[in-house]
Amino acid sequence: MIQEVPSFNRVALWTLIKREMIRSLKIINQVIWPPVISTLLYVFVFGLALGSRIQTVQGVTYAQFLIPGLIMLQTIDSSYGECSSSVFQGRFMNSIQEMLIAPMSAFEIVFGYVLGSLARAILIAALITVLGAVLVHTWPQNWLLYFGVLCMVSILFSSLGLIFGLMAEKFDHLAVLTTFVITPLTFVGGVFTSAAMLPQVLQRLELVNPIFYTIDAFRRSYTGESFLPPWLSLSVIALLMVVALGIALRMMAIGYKLRT
């Protein structure tokens, strides 16, 4: 069975992606259904019940306005959660050693985790997109923008998850970024409100919130409208994605907390 060793181990990359997908499906009640159910609750409580008192936002009903924001919320949450917990568990149980002793490069390991996480994000986004179509009759108008932003945001937050999964010393540390940074920034980043509704001071503050750019650009794929020009949001997201991915690759290459 001994074969030539390829310079790019694509079988290993695909094996890790598949492993991540199996992991997600094994814990489906923990990682797939909760975001779908919480989205349903948001749509019913905020969108249909309270939202009926709001006329229109960006030319659509409030419930329709919510859907793209909720997809981003869950994409960010699931991408970060998948990578951070999978990498940390691998370190904690030492099962990550299976990859570290194999002929796998840092690139193959990082992209295996990130693309596995992207697969989970796409599944969740697809389920919420269908919910949005069925419940509040909204559907993306620009699929290229929809997939482009979804993939970049998932890669950005998966990379952050990988970084924190490598840095954390205990499970509790993984929650620091979500509790104190990601969740607050996501909630004030335009999931529930349009920047146009805010006073000018808060509008300026939104510009330093990186999550605002992700939601604003993604919502444009649904409504065709955005607060910022799409090129600006896409550039900010792409820049952050490249930086986070670069740091994750560097940490894996030097074997940060993996190789002594």
Binding site: I101, A102, T260
Partner: protein, 240 residues
């Protein structure tokens, strides 16, 4: 002449001020059953980690079948199977998939991998458990699974870090026979163990490490010549 299975030249590994391995040089010939002995903390696991790429040496060189494990790391790793002392299986995979996914990380897939996984499960008495989770296996079965996983990609060298630690006498004898058979098939075996009778029984060559330095490397036969017991030789060489 064929390259040695392992060739270590002047390996040094430090952790801060602590020197775990100091100027270690070793040769393990192809097909050899090699015992690497030493007290706790002597540098055995650090040396193993340096061979498989889990530890980054401060200086020195390691070649595996002639491949520099730093420069030609893909080729070197492809030829090594590691059976660590701890059970570090992927908890999300079935026992059969533990083997198939490990082969995948080594760049192998397809029907031949599945056939080999089934063959190893059969040979190691795990076939009836193939679809189950490793957490339900007994200690002895986990040991055998560790060994099967190390062999799934058909390595030419297998490194066993205390493969019989904590197993009963019957299983130990069974594992010894398995290891003898594998070595008989041409596999190079690098074994660390605290059971000196195990090393005496199985290994053709023994190296002893103490405080990060090799204190002897010679054939088992010459080490216990004149009726000496390996335990006495070991204690004499490793005594502080």
């Amino acid at each position: 002449m064929s390259a040695p299975a392992i060739e270590i030249d002047h390996l040094v590994k430090r952790y801060g001020d602590f020197t775990a391995v100091e100027d270690v040089s070793l040769r393990v010939a192809q097909g050899e059953f090699f015992g690497f002995l030493g007290p706790n903390g002597a540098g055995k696991t650090t040396t193993i980690n340096a061979i498989v790429g889990l530890a980054q040496p401060n200086s020195g060189a390691i070649r595996v079948f002639g491949y520099d494990n730093h420069v030609e790391w893909r080729e070197a790793r492809r030829l090594i199977g590691l059976a660590p002392q701890e059970y570090n299986f992927d908890r999300y995979l079935s026992i059969r998939d533990v083997l198939i996914f490990q082969a995948g990380y080594f760049g192998l897939r397809g029907p031949k991998v599945k056939e080999r996984a089934d063959m190893l499960l059969e040979r190691f008495g795990l076939a009836s458990k193939a679809k189950g989770e490793y957490t339900r296996l007994s200690g002895g079965m986990k040991r055998r699974l560790t060994l099967a996983r190390a062999l799934i990609h058909e390595p030419k060298l297998v490194i066993l870090d205390e493969p019989t630690a904590g197993v009963d006498v019957e299983l130990r004898l069974e594992l010894w026979q398995l290891l003898r058979d594998l070595n008989g098939d041409g596999l190079t075996i690098f074994l660390t163990t605290h059971y000196l009778e195990e090393a005496e029984e199985l290994c053709k060559t023994i190296a002893i490490i103490r405080e990060g330095r090799i204190v002897t490397q010679q054939s088992t036969e010459s080490l216990i010549a004149d009726g000496a017991r390996l335990q006495d030789v070991f204690l004499e060489l490793t005594r502080a």
